[in-house]
Subunit: 358 residues, 2 copies
């Protein structure tokens, strides 16, 4: 087991990475204080891991509530969130109740926001069961739900007590979900660590073939890079925004197709290719580097062509992005592999990228 | 004008108290940064002050959005909150948009929670227009909405940029609303400041007769006491809970009758009388001090007898209170006037208080 610490002063927390951690009672014990624990999961993950997690928690002698939500980004909304609140109140869960998010990014984001908001804040633990959640949503404290007019528009910055990232559970991931997670690994390497990017290029087949050792390395290095960036800028006042590389285009794809049509990681993968295209068009990134981004994304079996929503629709969707300020769309672009920049861009180049990508 | 500072480090903010502050552009200017300001108010307050506030903001050259919600505690729910989000997204309000809460406690709590959650947090300013909001909800950063199973169950701790408490607007308050605000003044004095409590006793008629000078003193001293308590314990880990004196009984009254039947301050007023009764029964508070609490509450024209919901119903409602832990109901009681204590109580004495109060 490896432990990465996210250093946020009083809100610092550990990310434990390794096989079969879901069975380790000792990892949960320090973070569960009240008399009640509520496991929040979804219909897909429940039959795989809920009973195992409950067996792990049993020696702690807590009352365990199991809350099972429908699966998928389409359910990341107020109605589903409210099912958590309804159940917690019906079970008289108090302010010391610990929530455990057992699932992918959607479960993590919703459980985190429920923890942030229930009685104005209760503790929670992340047990991410997808590669995407292990490398992305478990670091950074971003929680929230979607609104019909935009993704993750309602939420909070709220840190977990701990993240327990079990590498062995990744074996149960469908191939599309695995690829979506690799997209976030590529992203993290591309914006901040050239050596890691080269490692990903060399290991892209191993990652795509569920190689446990390669996946554990990818999770650890991604978490380290993210933890460093988030530690410098917890509430995304500046540098932290580079973690959104590929997300401005990606969010537009997700919103334009309807949430759940493409996986978040697939949209981000394609969004990175578009952002690399825009970076090259503006003379920031070399053509050779742009091609490396395209090739490694394709190597991860991710889509590299954007859905044909039409240029105007893309621009419209991007204007409502959280990173937009006063109507100007902000992009995370690459100066080189391993170094990102945040900037507005001329509309002509943006339109050229859209025309070339869809 | 008097300014009380709530000292919370990076989140410190000023409370400005005085007549006609709603017209002071200079008080708003330092706290409005983005291109858009959204005023959130209700149908009752809008015709009185919205146009005046907009005229105050006009010299700042911002786009002003006016969001008008239905009036009353019964609307302090997700549906109403979501009207704020819908409008902000429809108007493309970005992360630098400032919300201004123009109204009483319900508007302040909902606008604060909207600010805490919109795009994971945007700035907001409180312009409380009731005495209750000026002395209570403008200090402490408690925001939130009600759930059918409990009051303020969903929310966040989130601090405003500033509070602008205009003493002159209190003239437009209906008498019941004024009395509800005085309840919070009495509460604050009773738990932490014997000299202030004596001052309230001597000035209870002036306060009830809308005396501007007396009200300004009451607001200032209440805010000072609250700011000190909150500064020591922002997230209510300990001492801050004494501010909930009268609230365990009060919340049960509100939930039992249905939100909106009694005003929050009326329920707290009656709740203080009940908590004083319980304190006396347990030998903590002298009979003479108990009588002073009853008399000043009655002097403020607040109810001192609880609605006849039945003992079992009261106990049931109190068990779901946020202060309950593992099923044990926590009470804020008085050791003497000016000094509170947080404790569980034997059921026999609790039942005796209920029997004597209803």
């Amino acid at each position: 087991m490896i432990t990465v610490t996210v250093d946020l002063g009083q809100r610092a927390y550990p990310i434990h990475i390794g096989p079969a951690l879901i069975d380790r009672t000792d990892l949960f014990e320090p973070h569960v204080r009240g008399k009640t624990v509520a496991i929040v999961t979804n219909e897909t993950v429940e039959p795989l891991y809920a009973a195992r997690l409950e067996a792990t928690l049993a020696p702690l002698g807590k009352t365990i509530i199991r809350i099972v939500l429908p699966d998928g980004e389409a359910h990341k909304n107020w109605e589903t969130l409210n099912r958590i609140f309804d159940r917690l109140l019906a079970e008289r869960a108090d302010r010391k109740t610990t929530l455990i998010a057992l699932g992918g990014g959607v479960i993590g984001d919703m459980t985190g926001f429920a923890a942030a908001s229930y009685m104005r804040g209760i503790p929670f633990i992340q047990v991410p069961t997808t590669l995407l959640a292990q490398v992305d949503s478990s670091v950074g404290g971003k929680t929230g739900i979607n609104h019909p007019l935009g993704k993750n528009m309602i939420g909070a910055f709220y840190q977990p007590q701990a993240v327990i990232a079990d590498s062995a559970v990744l074996r149960s991931l469908p191939p599309r979900e695995l690829a979506a997670g690799i997209a976030e690994v590529i992203k993290t390497a591309a914006i901040a660590d050239h050596a890691f990017f080269s490692w990903v290029e060399s290991n892209i087949e191993a990652l795509s073939n569920y190689d446990q050792a390669a996946l554990a390395v990818a999770v650890r290095r991604s978490c380290e890079v993210k933890a460093k960036v988030v530690g410098e800028d917890e509430r995304e006042g500046g540098i932290r925004a580079i973690l959104n590389f590929g997300h401005t285009f990606g969010h537009a794809i997700e919103a334009g197709l309807g949430y759940g049509e493409w996986l978040h990681g697939e949209a981000v993968g394609c969004g990175m290719v578009m952002a690399a295209d825009l970076s090259a068009r503006l003379g920031l990134l070399s053509e050779a580097s742009r091609e490396r981004i395209v090739n490694v994304t394709r190597g991860a079996k991710l889509p590299v062509r954007a859905p044909a929503l039409g240029e105007e629709r893309y621009i419209d969707l991007m204007r409502v992005d959280k990173k937009a300020e006063g109507g100007e769309i902000k992009f995370i672009l690459l100066k080189k592999i391993g170094e990102a920049v945040i900037t507005g861009v001329p509309e002509a180049e943006l339109r050229a990228t859209l025309a070339a990508s869809i």
